[in-house]
């Protein structure tokens, strides 16, 4: 009996979790509103919910803060590594109106959802020197022109290219357009030894990475996913050109077959193994692909450039993380001060040095010492300044799912570009309808 009960019990615990979360939600009428419009007051110890602190630098900065503010200590709460799990835990806390987390380390695409649900506080823009931050990064922290989160880490796409192969093929400059990229690729592959190389790859598996790559393709062709008023615009010629760059790439094998399974790490392994001539990737690959411990076959042989586009330079999508203050927590004044401290130039500099994560303060990108250590910074700054955030939708989860569906079905040949985009337009229209 107990065995069967256990089996059934396990099945139901899952249901129970869902249900209990729902109950917490139904009880939140009104309370959230009051909390969100309240002031940032109160001082005392706070907790800071974030993903993994892989470098230990976050703890170092917190220790520094705690030394100076013995009565307003900050404690780091490490959430699971997967972004979805982090979001789930933060949402569960918000729905229970828990005071547990004060500062939330939000992915740039969650801002709209958290702000619209009144889970995070609106922040006073005048208390931050936002003009010294990269503007696109600041925009990711805004919902309906109000600031809800302060950018701490940024990220932009780069085109990694095999400089040695391009040089050998007589291509002197990295491609600025897709046509140039294909051209350069053909020249490199003309040599029999290079004939088996893959031309181009990005993150094309059906997950958030595909949303990023698909948006970039559309933007780089001059299109957009949503226009400035938030209306979907994927049924345009520009969007079709963008998606066709990926679809045709798969058809002509310029994008190798295996790339449809690539997430960041799969692509990185392929690039490091010397299988790719061009690779769209985040800055983190730079250090690893340059490792001289034998793990990378391309160390010293590659360079980075801004993403190419249809008729000129491409437009990257923004990644990164912003800090927000939970609407339900105490000691919000402390939280505000801590965010100021964490986004100060010194803190960002130490972060960059320790983690090589892209900072959000513009000045660091021009710091000669930093450039010496991270030679890609100049290119990255250019990429971020040109970048466009992913759609800032309250139902972002559904929006990104629809975008992945469209891009994936077109790239795997299940649907034509036109059909996939027409369907996506319909879906986005219903998802973004007010």
């Amino acid at each position: 009996m107990s065995g069967k009960a256990r089996v059934r019990g396990a099945a139901l615990l899952a249901v129970a979790a869902v249900v209990l979360a729902g109950c917490g939600d139904s009880g939140s009428d009104g309370g959230g509103e009051n909390a969100a419009s309240g002031a940032l007051e109160g001082r005392g110890p706070i907790k800071f919910a974030t993903g993994k602190d892989t470098s230990g630098n976050m703890q170092k900065l917190v220790d520094e803060w705690n030394g100076e503010h013995p009565d307003e200590k900050v404690e780091i709460v490490e959430l699971p590594e997967a972004a979805d799990e982090q979001r789930n835990q933060m949402i569960q806390n918000a729905q229970a109106q828990s005071k547990e987390f004060t500062i939330l380390n939000l992915d740039v695409v969650w801002t709209a959802e958290f702000a619209a649900n009144r889970w995070v506080m609106q922040l006073p823009e005048d208390q931050f020197d936002l003009e010294n931050f990269l503007e696109p990064a600041v925009n990711t922290g805004k919902y309906r022109d109000n600031l809800y989160a302060v950018p701490v880490y940024s990220d932009g796409g780069l085109l990694y290219y095999r400089k040695d192969l391009l040089d050998a093929a007589g291509v002197t400059a990295p491609p600025k357009t897709w046509a140039e990229l294909k051209d350069a690729c053909a020249k490199v592959k003309a040599t029999p030894a290079n004939a088996g190389l893959g031309c181009y790859a990005g993150q094309f598996d059906k997950y958030e990475g595909l949303t990023v790559n698909f948006s970039e393709a559309v933007q780089s062709a001059g299109g957009s996913i949503l226009d400035e008023s938030g209306k979907p615009t994927v049924n345009t010629q520009e969007a079709k050109d963008g998606l066709n760059f990926l679809v045709d790439g798969v058809k002509t094998k310029e994008i190798p077959d295996a790339a449809i399974t690539y997430k960041e790490e799969d692509g990185r392994r392929a690039f490091q193994d010397g299988q790719l001539i061009f690779h769209r990737q985040w800055p983190y690959q730079y250090a690893q692909a340059n490792a001289t411990d034998g793990s990378s076959k391309v160390a010293g042989k590659f360079q980075v450039a801004p993403l190419p586009g249809k008729d000129g330079p491409g437009v990257s999508t923004l990644g990164g993380h912003n800090f927000a203050i939970s609407a339900f927590a105490d000691n919000k004044a402390t939280a505000l001060d801590f965010i100021k401290f964490f986004t100060s130039e010194e803190a960002q500099k130490s972060n960059l040095l320790a983690t090589s994560q892209a900072p959000t303060r513009a000045s660091l990108y021009d710091d000669p010492d930093m450039i010496k250590q991270f030679p890609y910074l100049t290119t990255l700054k250019e990429s971020i300044l040109n970048a466009v955030p992913r759609p800032q939708a309250v139902k972002y989860g559904d929006v990104t799912a629809a975008m992945q569906e469209a891009a994936y079905s077109a790239m795997t040949g299940e649907a034509s570009t036109d059909d996939a985009l027409a369907e996506l337009q319909t879906k986005l229209e219903s998802l973004t309808a007010q």
Partner: protein, 335 residues
Amino acid sequence: MTATDAPPQAAAGAPKKQPSTAKSDPQKHGRLALLLLTPTFLVLALVIGYPLIAAIRESLYQKAEGVDESGFVLEGERFVGIDNYSAIFTGESAERFWNAFFNTTFFTVTTLILEIVIGVTMALVMHHALRGKGLVRASILVPWAIPTAVSAIMWQFIFTADGVANEVLNSQILWTTEGFQAKIAVIIADVWKTAPFVGLLVLAGLQIIPNDVYEAARVDGASAWKQFWRITLPLVKPALLVAILFRGLDALRMFDLPFVMIGQRKQSVETLSMLAQEEASQLRIGPAAAYAVVLFVYVSLIAYAFVKLLGADVIGEARARAKETKQRKAKAVTA
């Protein structure tokens, strides 16, 4: 399980005081039984009854949709009756639902068959291994000890484009893309992980078969195959059916393997649990609960059918055995 340790005083006290009356008076007997069982029922009501009822209630509600003028999400939820259920079975979501339903059933049937065959083989090997019995048993059980999500990541590495699977098969199969190969990848990983569980349960069944039955069969000149078919299989059947039932119910709830290894929203491997999870993660609690309830009903029906048709005896094993021995005794007497 929790209840057994709760009322020891009652159990210990009652028979001492009035050992004969408790046996002879059926009414008192029943009251004592009720008293002893109450804690169990309370715990069951709390951990099973309440969530189930709450889930069913939740599946009849829907959260307010949309945002107000200043961009804030509307709050509150409203009663929608069976809308959440009818939404599952109409339009595009019906297609998705039946696809997931088919996948779930397909995975359950295929993995069950493979697990039974491999599990029984494993059990026979473990049972007959003369030397290093302990080592063989321990090593066969290793996959079962690994958390599913972890083994899913492991198999993900194996099934990447330049992974071990393609290396060994000398092929270029893209296992994690849409298509039948994704189903095969899930089945392989699932069977690898859970066949040892079936093996272990069957082994337990094998060990209670007395050796003299085989000796007698050998004296009668039965071949090894005949021994297996006529003696081993019928005698191990109760244990095997329990294993099948547990595995079947488990497989119907399959989630982590396709989710972690192949990815979300891939038609070829999407299961019913994944649909419920996706709705819940998008904060549509009502529809998520509706999916969960539908899955629950499906699992219950299968479990009921198992118990009724195949006679998988999970609950009343002791009772049935008692009855059997009684019948046997009666037969012996009449004979």
